[in-house]
C-alpha cells in the first residue's frame, strides 16, 4: 500500500506547480469583526475555473490571474466579497458574517439533501468540528453523547467493538431496534462479519465528513420499511480542487481502572475459617489478584494520511490511508485495522454530469480474547498463576496429579486460557458506491440519478490450543485441544435510480423526487469444527465441515418526495414509499409508508428585525414507517424442513439418519408499523450565537413483530414471530449550542442536550409475560420480561424482605399474589434499564493557540441488575465443587448463603445513574512552519476520565441492563499530532 500512496502523493504534489508561471495573487482573508483568519474560504476568478481556498491561517495563493479579473471570496455564513485584480502582489480581504446565511448547513435526507434551515423533520447534523475527540476507533464513537435522543452504548471495553445505537429508544420488541445506517447512499447490514469486531469497524472514522441523523418518521419514512428506528446517514469526505494533505496520528497508553471487589488471599482465608473451616486444607499459599493478572497496560496508535486534490486537474480525488492498532486490556486482545478510502467526484459537461465513486477497503487483523472475567473473579486467590509441577505448561490448574484428569466443575486458570489460546481473525471488506447524477441538458430542472452500491466481506477466525490447555475441549476430563476455523462471506448489493425535479415559481420553490431502490443481502459460512474433538460429528448432510448458506433477503421500494417552500416561510414536505420485503408472503409483501411535515419560519414573519431572535422555526410532522428485520427469519411464511446436523441424527437399525423437522411457520407474517408524531422548534438567538431545538414526540408501534407464544400443538414450536401488540414511546428532546464568548483570542462554546423518553408495552401477544435477556445463574434465570403496562425488558424479580435491623432475610420474599406459596408466580416488575434522563455536554475553549475541550455524559434514573453479585456473592459458593471459589466482598453486606434462593431478588437491582467524562483534550497549534505552508497541532488528552455513580459494580454503563462481569473500559492517556499542508 505504501508505494501506491507515495506515487499518488507525488502526483498530487507535482500537479499544481506545472501552472505557476502565470500572474499570481496571494493574501489573507480575515473575519471583519474578530480579525481572525478564516480557513477554507473559496477564492475564485469570476467566469473562469481558476480557484483556490484559504489555509488554516486564512492564507491563499491564486495563480493564472489576469489584470481586470474579478476575484470572488466566498464562504458559508459570510457575505461574498469581490476584488478586481490589478497586479497586486498581496491583499488582505475582510469578510462580514451574514447572519441570514449562517445556518446554511446541508442535511442528507436520503435520495437528496435539504438545507438545515428548510428542514421540516426532526433531524440533526454533525460536521467534523462537532465530532468527539480522543479514542474514536469506530464511527459511533464520534457522535456518542452529541445528539439528543441518540444513545450509544459499547457495553464494555473490547477494542473496536460495536455499540448498541438507539434513536429514541427504538421501536420494536423482538424485531431489530438498530437504526438504519447509510454510508454515502449505501444502506449497510447491521451484523458483524466473521473475523471482524463490529459492522462499523471497517469504516475509518477519519474519512467521515458528516452525520445526518434522522429521528422522526417525517424524515425517515423515505426509507420506508427500514426507518422505524431512525436513520444515520454518513457522508465521507470528497475530493477538492486544491491539494491539501493532512496527517493525523494519535498515541495512547491505557490502564485498568477498577476491578470487581473480591476477597484477597488473607481475607478469603479468614472467610473460609469462619464459614467452612473444613475447606482450609484446600487453600494455597499464594496471594494472586486474578483480575489484575488477566489484564495489562495497553498501547494505542492511530495514524491517518489524507490527501485531497484534483487528479490531472480534472478529477477531484480524496485518498485516505489509515492504520489503527488498539490493544485491549485482556492480555492477548488486539484490534488492528488498515484502511484505504478513495473518493473520486468529477463533474463533466459543464456540471451536467456529476460522477461520484466512493470505495472503502478495510483489512482487520484481530486477536480475540475469551471473556475470562468470570473465571478471574471466581479463582481462588490463594493459588498461584504458575506452578512448576503442572502438566499444563506450568500453569496452575485444578487436576488430579496422578491421572492428569482435570477436576470437573472447577474453574480453569484464566491467565492460561488467554496466553495458551491462539484466537485470531481477519476480515477484508470492500464497500462503496458509484453514483451518476445527470442534469438534463434540455431540461436543467430535472436530474436523473443512478446509484450502485456494493459491500462485500470475507473473513475468517481460527482458534488453536494445544493438548496442555485446560480450558480447551476435553473428553473424560483430558483436554484434547482446539483446532477450529470458520469463514464467512457477506455481500450486499444496491441499485437506486431516481428522478429529481426542482423549480422555482416566483415565491414557490418546488422539488419532487421519485425513484426506485433494490437491495439484496447474501451470506454464507464455513465451519470446520474442532478437528481435535474425538466426537466431532462428521457424518450426515449436516456433519462437519458445515457449509451454510443463509436465505437471501431482498428489499425493494418505490419512493417519492416533494418539498414545497412558499416565500421562505412555509415549508411542506410530503413523502411516500412502497416497500416490498422477501421476508413476507406475496399477499403481505408490500407496505405503504407515507409521511408529511410542515414547518413555519416564524422568524421571517415576526422577528425579521429582531436583535434577539434570529431564527425561529416551528415544525410538525407525522409519518408511518415499517419494520421487517427479524434477523435470520428470512421467509418464515413458508413451510421448510431443516435436516439435522451430524450430531442431530436418529438411528434406525444401525444407520444414523439426520432428522428432518419442519420449522414453525406463519403465513400471516407482515410488517410492523410505527406511526410517529413529532412537534419541534428550532431556535436561534443573538445572531444564532445561541441556537438549538426542542422536540416532543410520540411513537406507536402496532402489529408488533413479537416472537410470542403459539397454541402448543398447532405448530412446530411454542413461539414464532407474529404481528400482535402495541408499543408506545413518548419523549422530549432539548438541544442548545452557545458561543458564550467570541473574541479575538478567547472563544468559549458549549453544547448541551437532554432527552427524556418513556417506553411502554400497551399490548403484548395473548397478554402473556415473555422473559428476555441472559440467564443470571443457572438455566431459566432471566431477570427481564416483556409485560403489558411496563417498559420492555423491565426487571421481573422477587420482592426481598428485610428484618427489623434492615438486613435482608435470605430467601424471604413477599407473597405478591397472596396464595400462601412463594414461587415464581410471586415475581413482580421492579424498575428497568431505561434512563429517565440522558444528558450530553461538551465544551470547547480557545485561548490564543491553546484549545481545551471536554465531553460529559450522564444517565439519570436507569437501573442495572447486578448479576455479578446475584450469581456470586453467596457463601455457599465457596465450595460448590472441588475447588474454592472466591466471592465478591458484597457478600459481607447480605450474609447470603445460597445462590439459588436469592438469585432473582430485587436487592440486586441497583440505581445506575452516572456522570461520565468521556474525554478531555488540550491542544496547541503552532503558528507557522515552512513559509506558512505547514500547520502543526499537538494535543494531549485523556479518555474515560472519570465516572461518578452510586452503582456498586464495575461500571454503570451496561448494555441491556444486566451486569454479568463486563470487559472493563480502560482509561487512556493520549498524545496526538495533526499536520496539514
Amino acid at each position: 500500500m505504501k508505494t501506491i500512496y507515495k506515487k499518488l502523493l507525488f502526483l498530487l504534489l507535482f500537479l499544481p506547480f506545472c501552472v505557476l508561471a502565470q500572474n499570481t495573487i496571494g493574501g489573507t482573508v480575515l473575519d471583519k469583526i474578530t480579525g481572525q483568519p478564516i480557513p477554507g474560504v473559496n477564492v475564485n476568478v469570476q467566469g473562469s475555473t481558476t480557484g483556490a481556498s484559504t489555509d488554516l491561517d486564512g492564507k491563499f495563493r491564486l495563480s493564472n490571474v489576469k489584470k481586470g479579473d474579478k476575484v470572488v471570496f466566498s464562504f458559508v455564513g459570510y457575505k461574498s466579497e469581490t476584488i478586481v485584480f490589478s497586479s497586486q502582489q498581496s491583499i488582505s480581504v475582510q469578510l462580514e458574517e451574514d447572519s441570514s446565511q449562517l445556518k446554511e448547513v446541508v442535511i442528507q435526507v436520503g435520495y437528496g439533501t435539504v438545507k438545515k434551515k428548510d428542514a421540516t423533520g426532526a433531524v440533526a447534523v454533525l460536521g467534523a468540528k462537532d465530532f468527539n475527540k480522543g479514542v474514536t476507533v469506530n464511527a459511533d464513537n464520534l457522535f456518542n453523547g452529541r445528539v439528543a435522543g441518540v444513545t450509544v452504548n459499547a457495553g464494555g471495553g473490547a477494542p473496536g467493538s460495536g455499540s448498541t445505537i438507539r434513536i429514541r429508544g427504538g421501536a420494536s420488541l423482538n424485531a431489530s431496534n438498530d437504526p438504519l445506517i447509510v454510508i454515502d447512499g449505501l444502506p449497510i447490514e447491521n451484523s458483524t462479519g466473521t473475523g471482524s469486531t463490529s459492522f462499523l469497524a471497517s469504516l475509518n472514522p477519519s474519512t467521515i465528513e458528516s452525520f445526518s441523523i434522522l429521528k422522526d418518521a417525517s424524515a425517515t419514512a423515505i426509507y420506508g420499511s427500514r426507518a422505524s428506528n431512525g436513520v444515520i446517514l454518513i457522508t465521507t469526505k470528497k475530493g477538492g480542487k486544491n491539494l491539501s494533505v493532512e496527517f493525523n496520528s494519535m498515541l495512547g497508553i491505557g490502564n485498568l481502572i477498577k476491578t470487581v471487589d473480591v476477597f484477597d488471599a488473607a481475607t478469603l482465608r479468614k472467610v473460609v475459617t469462619e464459614q467452612n473451616p473444613s475447606l482450609l486444607s484446600r487453600l494455597g499459599n499464594a496471594n494472586t489478584d486474578w483480575q489484575k493478572e488477566i489484564y495489562r497496560q495497553t498501547t494505542y496508535t492511530d495514524a491517518n494520511v489524507s490527501v485531497r486534490g484534483s487528479l490531472l486537474g480534472v478529477l477531484p480525488t480524496r485518498l485516505t490511508v489509515g492504520k489503527t492498532y488498539q490493544e485491549g486490556l485482556r492480555l492477548t486482545n488486539v484490534f488492528n485495522r488498515n484502511t484505504v478510502g478513495l473518493a473520486l467526484n468529477p463533474t463533466l459537461f459543464q456540471d451536467h454530469l456529476k460522477l461520484r465513486l466512493n470505495a472503502n477497503y478495510s483489512n482487520e487483523n484481530n486477536s480475540f480474547a475469551d471473556a475470562v472475567e468470570s473465571s478471574a473473579i471466581n479463582f481462588d486467590p490463594t493459588q498461584p498463576v504458575y506452578d512448576n509441577t503442572s502438566k499444563f505448561a506450568n500453569f496452575y490448574e485444578n487436576y488430579n496429579h496422578a491421572t492428569g484428569a482435570l477436576t470437573p466443575q472447577t474453574t480453569r486458570n484464566p491467565v492460561a486460557q488467554l496466553l495458551q489460546t491462539d484466537n485470531t481473525g481477519y476480515s477484508n471488506r470492500l464497500f462503496g458506491n458509484f453514483e451518476a447524477d445527470y442534469k438534463m441538458h434540455f431540461l436543467p430542472e430535472l436530474r436523473a440519478v443512478v446509484n450502485v452500491g456494493f459491500d462485500e466481506t470475507h473473513g475468517q477466525t481460527s482458534r488453536y490450543a494445544g493438548l496442555d490447555v485446560a480450558s480447551s475441549g476435553s473428553n473424560n476430563n483430558i483436554p484434547y485441544g482446539t483446532n477450529e476455523i470458520s469463514r464467512g462471506h457477506r455481500k450486499n448489493t444496491l441499485f437506486d435510480a431516481f428522478l429529481a425535479y426542482n423549480k422555482t415559481f416566483d415565491k414557490l420553490v418546488f422539488d419532487l423526487t421519485g425513484g426506485y431502490s433494490y437491495q439484496k443481502f447474501e451470506s454464507n459460512t464455513y465451519i470446520q469444527g474442532n478437528l481435535n474433538d474425538p466426537n466431532l460429528p462428521t457424518t450426515g448432510v449436516g456433519g462437519f465441515p458445515q457449509y451454510k448458506v443463509a436465505t437471501p433477503v431482498v428489499l425493494l421500494g418505490y419512493f417519492a418526495r416533494t418539498n414545497l417552500n412558499y416565500n421562505d416561510k412555509y415549508l411542506l414536505t410530503l413523502s411516500y414509499r412502497r416497500d416490498g420485503s422477501s421476508r413476507f408472503a406475496k399477499e403481505n409483501r408490500f407496505g405503504n409508508f407515507p409521511a408529511a411535515s410542515f414547518a413555519w419560519k416564524a422568524s421571517n414573519d415576526f422577528f425579521k428585525d429582531s436583535e434577539t431572535v434570529s431564527d425561529l422555526k416551528l415544525r410538525v410532522g407525522w409519518g408511518v414507517t415499517g419494520q421487517q428485520d427479524i434477523g435470520d427469519a428470512a421467509n418464515i411464511y413458508l413451510q421448510k424442513y431443516v435436516t439435522g446436523s451430524g450430531s442431530s441424527q436418529y438411528t434406525f437399525g444401525t444407520t444414523a439418519l439426520p432428522i428432518a423437522i419442519s420449522s414453525a411457520y406463519n403465513e400471516q407474517i407482515k410488517w410492523e408499523e410505527t406511526t410517529t408524531y413529532n412537534a419541534g422548534v428550532d431556535y436561534g438567538l443573538f445572531k444564532n450565537r445561541i441556537n438549538g431545538s426542542v422536540d416532543v414526540f410520540y411513537k406507536v408501534s402496532s402489529d408488533l413483530l413479537v416472537k410470542g407464544p403459539l397454541a402448543d400443538g398447532s405448530n412446530f414450536s411454542n413461539a414464532i414471530f407474529q404481528n400482535v401488540g402495541q408499543f408506545t414511546t413518548k419523549g422530549v428532546e432539548f438541544t442548545i449550542n452557545a458561543d458564550i464568548i467570541k473574541s479575538d483570542n478567547f472563544n468559549w462554546n458549549v453544547n448541551f442536550n437532554a432527552t427524556h423518553f418513556d417506553r411502554k408495552i400497551d399490548e403484548l401477544i395473548y397478554h402473556t409475560i415473555i422473559r428476555t435477556g441472559d440467564n443470571i445463574a443457572g438455566t431459566g434465570t432471566q431477570a427481564k420480561v416483556y409485560q403489558e403496562g411496563f417498559a420492555p425488558d423491565s426487571f421481573w424479580v422477587y420482592k426481598q424482605l428485610y428484618d427489623v435491623s434492615g438486613k435482608p432475610i435470605e430467601g424471604a420474599y413477599a407473597d405478591s399474589n397472596g396464595d400462601g406459596v412463594i414461587n415464581a408466580d410471586d415475581k413482580y416488575i421492579y424498575k428497568n434499564q431505561d434512563a429517565k434522563l440522558v444528558l450530553g455536554f461538551t465544551t470547547n475553549l480557545n485561548y490564543n493557540k491553546f484549545d481545551l475541550s471536554f465531553a460529559l455524559r450522564s444517565n439519570i434514573g436507569n437501573s442495572v441488575f447486578n448479576a455479578v453479585n446475584a450469581s456470586r456473592a453467596q457463601y455457599g459458593r465457596l465450595n460448590t465443587g472441588a475447588d474454592i471459589t472466591n466471592l465478591p466482598t458484597s457478600v459481607v453486606n447480605t450474609g447470603f448463603n445460597n445462590t439459588s434462593t436469592v438469585v432473582l431478588s430485587d436487592i440486586y437491582v441497583e440505581n445506575a445513574s452516572f456522570l461520565r467524562m468521556d474525554n478531555i483534550s488540550l491542544g496547541y497549534t503552532f503558528p507557522k512552519w515552512f513559509n506558512d505552508k505547514i500547520s502543526l497541532r499537538l494535543t494531549a488528552g485523556c479518555q474515560n476520565v472519570f465516572v461518578i455513580t452510586k452503582y456498586s459494580g464495575l461500571d454503570p454503563e451496561i448494555n441491556n441492563g444486566v451486569d454479568g462481569a463486563i470487559y472493563p473500559r480502560q482509561r487512556s492517556f493520549l498524545f496526538g499530532t495533526n499536520i496539514k499542508f
Binding site: A448, G542, V553, Y650, G708, A824
Partner: protein, 531 residues
C-alpha cells in the same frame, strides 16, 4: 412538459418491470428443504420419521444446545429430561442440587406454579411431538404419495408402517399429557396450522389413546421384529397397559383386567430379563433384550442434554468425583437421594441386591440444605460404560439410551393389576398376589441376586416399594405414588412441601398446572384446579 412525461414514463417502466420476483427467495442451504423437495423420495419420509422419533431425544436440528422451543433452556427442554424431572424430582427419589436452575427448586419442594419453565418445557415439547406427528400424517397421506409419485409398492408399504408408528408416538405424547396435566389441547392430522385446538379432558384423551392404539396395533410389526429405534406392538401394548393400570386415577374406572391382558401379551412377546439388572442402564443398553422402548442418546450422532446425559453426569458425587467410573466428566453432585428412598433398601434382604447402588461413604443421609451437595447419599445405577467396561464415545454426551418401558415394569404392573383386581386397595394390607405375580416379582429379585419374597409379604405397600427398588430414576415415581395414594398425603419425604422432613401437599398437585403462556395462547384451555 412532453419531455418530462417521456422521461418519467421510461423511468417508471424500467423500475416497475424490475425484479419483484426477486422477493421470492428460497434457501439454497443443503439442510433446508421445501416439503416438495423432502417428500419427493422415500428417504425423505424416513428422515421425517426420524424427526418424529428424534423430537423425543433431541431438542433441535443444530447441536445439543439448539432448540426450537422458547421459554425453556434448550438442553433442559429434551423430552426425556423434562419427563424425568417431573416424575422424579417431585418425589422421594432425588433432589437436584443446583436450584438456581429456575423451576427445579419448585419441583424439589413441590411448590410449582404455572410459570415454571420445566412444566412449559414438557408441555411444549410433548405438544410439539403431536404437531410433528400430525404433519407426518398429513404429508404421507395416500393422495400425497400418489401426487408425489411415490407409487412403488414397497415404498408405500414402508411409509404406511411409518404412519402406524407415528400414531403410536402421538398416542404416547397424549398419554403423558393426560398423566401430568389431566387434559390437553387436541389436534390431529386434520387440524389447521396455527389453529387453537379444543381441550380434551382425561376421559376424552383416554378414549382417543385407547382407540388409536387398538386401531394401529394389528398393523404394527410384532414385538422385537422392527429395527432398533422403532415402535412395535410391544410399545403400543405397554402404553395401553399403563393407561389401564392408572385408569382408576385417570377416568375413575378400574381396568385391571385389561391391564393384565396387555402385560401378559408383552411378557410373552419375546422380551427377556437382562441377566444383569445394571446392563439395562449402560452405554450399550440398546442391545438389552429387556428394553421395550427407549429414548436414544449417542455421544457422536445423537448428542443431547437429555435424560441419560443429565442422570449420569448428575449422579457423579461431589465428594467421590467418580465420573471416571461412569465414563463421564460429571457435574459435581447434581443429584442426591432423599433419605426415604434410601430406606427402601434398608435391611439385610437388600444388602446384596444389585439394584442397591447407593453410595453412602461418609455422607450424612439427611439433606438439610439442598445446595450442599455433600449431604445425602448418591447413586451409581446408570453408566456411560458398556457391559464390557468400555467408556462411551464421549464423556460429554452419553451413549446410554433412556428406557421408557422395559419388561421388569410389565412384571410388576401385572402383579399390581392382579392384586388390585383381587381387591387390594391403597393402604390395605391384603396380600393376594397369585402365583404368577409372585413368580414375576421373584424373577426380578432373583435376577438382582436379592432375597425372594413369600406371598404373605406381598401387599400393595410392598409393590410400591418394590417398584421404587426396581424402577427408581426411570421416570415412574410420581405416577406410581399417585396411584398408590401416597403422593400428596399419607407419605412424606424430605423437602416435600418445602419442609425439611416433608409435609402433606394439596391434593390438586396430583396434576400440574397448564403453563401460563400455553394457557393464554389457547383460549380453549382451562387451568387445573388450585392454580
Amino acid at each position: 412538459m412532453k419531455k418530462i412525461n417521456l422521461i418519467v414514463s421510461i423511468f417508471s417502466l424500467v423500475t416497475l418491470l424490475s425484479c419483484t420476483q426477486d422477493l421470492d427467495v428460497i434457501s439454497t442451504d443443503s439442510t433446508v428443504k421445501t416439503p416438495e423437495a423432502l417428500f419427493s423420495t422415500p428417504e425423505g419420509y424416513k428422515q421425517a420419521l426420524a424427526g418424529v422419533y428424534g423430537n423425543l431425544s433431541l431438542t433441535g436440528t443444530g447441536d445439543a444446545g439448539s432448540s426450537f422451543l422458547e421459554g425453556i433452556d434448550a438442553g433442559t427442554s429434551q423430552f426425556g429430561r423434562c419427563l424425568w424431572y417431573l416424575q422424579e424430582m417431585t418425589t422421594d427419589e432425588v433432589v437436584w442440587s443446583y436450584e438456581n436452575d429456575e423451576g427445579t427448586a419448585e419441583l424439589n419442594r413441590n411448590t410449582w406454579g404455572s410459570s415454571n419453565p420445566i412444566l412449559l418445557g414438557f408441555f411444549s415439547r410433548t405438544m410439539a411431538e403431536v404437531a410433528i406427528a400430525n404433519d407426518f400424517l398429513r404429508q404421507s397421506a395416500p393422495e400425497k404419495l400418489t401426487s408425489r409419485g411415490i407409487t412403488n409398492a414397497t415404498d408405500v408399504a414402508n411409509i404406511n408402517m411409518y404412519r402406524n408408528e407415528v400414531r403410536v408416538l402421538r398416542a404416547y405424547a397424549y398419554y403423558n399429557l393426560m398423566d401430568m396435566f389431566g387434559k390437553a389441547p387436541f389436534y390431529d392430522e386434520s387440524s389447521a396450522i396455527n389453529s387453537q385446538g379444543p381441550e380434551y379432558n382425561r376421559q376424552q384423551l383416554f378414549t382417543f389413546i385407547e382407540s388409536e392404539l387398538n386401531a394401529v396395533l394389528p398393523n404394527l410389526k410384532a414385538a422385537r421384529t422392527n429395527e432398533y429405534g422403532r415402535v412395535d406392538q410391544g410399545v403400543a401394548n405397554m402404553i395401553l397397559a399403563k393407561i389401564y393400570l392408572n385408569a382408576e386415577v385417570y377416568i375413575g374406572t378400574p381396568k385391571y383386567t385389561e391391564c393384565m391382558t396387555k402385560c401378559s401379551t408383552v411378557i410373552t412377546s419375546g422380551y427377556a430379563l437382562n441377566t444383569n439388572y445394571l446392563n439395562n442402564f449402560k452405554a450399550d443398553n440398546n442391545t438389552s433384550p429387556e428394553i421395550i422402548f427407549a429414548l436414544q442418546s449417542d455421544g457422536r450422532v445423537t448428542q443431547n442434554y437429555g435424560a441419560t446425559t443429565v442422570i449420569i453426569n448428575g449422579q457423579v458425587g461431589s465428594v467421590e468425583s467418580n465420573g471416571a467410573d461412569f465414563g463421564v466428566g460429571g457435574w459435581g453432585g447434581a443429584f442426591r437421594l432423599r433419605k426415604q428412598f434410601v430406606q427402601k433398601f434398608d435391611g439385610s434382604d437388600y444388602a446384596a441386591d444389585v439394584r442397591n447402588t447407593i453410595i453412602s461413604g461418609s455422607r450424612p443421609i439427611d439433606i438439610t440444605n439442598i445446595s450442599t451437595n455433600g449431604q445425602g447419599y448418591v447413586l451409581a445405577k446408570w453408566s456411560n460404560k458398556t457391559v464390557a467396561g468400555v467408556a462411551g464415545s464421549s464423556s460429554n454426551f452419553v451413549d446410554t439410551d433412556f428406557p421408557v418401558f422395559r419388561l421388569a415394569d410389565a412384571y410388576l404392573m401385572y402383579a399390581e393389576a392382579q392384586m388390585r383386581k383381587g381387591g387390594a386397595i391403597n393402604g390395605g394390607t391384603l396380600a393376594n398376589a397369585d402365583a404368577t405375580s409372585l413368580g414375576y416379582i421373584n424373577a426380578l429379585r432373583t435376577r438382582a441376586k436379592g432375597v425372594s419374597v413369600g406371598a404373605t409379604a406381598v401387599n400393595l405397600d410392598f409393590i410400591i416399594d418394590e417398584r421404587a427398588r426396581e424402577l427408581h430414576w426411570e421416570a415412574f415415581r410420581r405416577q406410581d405414588l399417585i396411584r398408590f395414594g401416597k403422593y400428596t398425603t399419607g407419605y412424606n419425604w424430605a423437602w416435600k412441601g418445602n419442609s425439611l422432613n416433608g409435609t402433606s401437599i394439596s391434593d390438586n398437585m396430583k396434576l400440574f398446572p397448564i403453563p401460563a403462556n400455553s394457557l393464554k395462547a389457547n383460549p380453549n384451555l382451562t387451568q387445573n384446579n388450585g392454580y
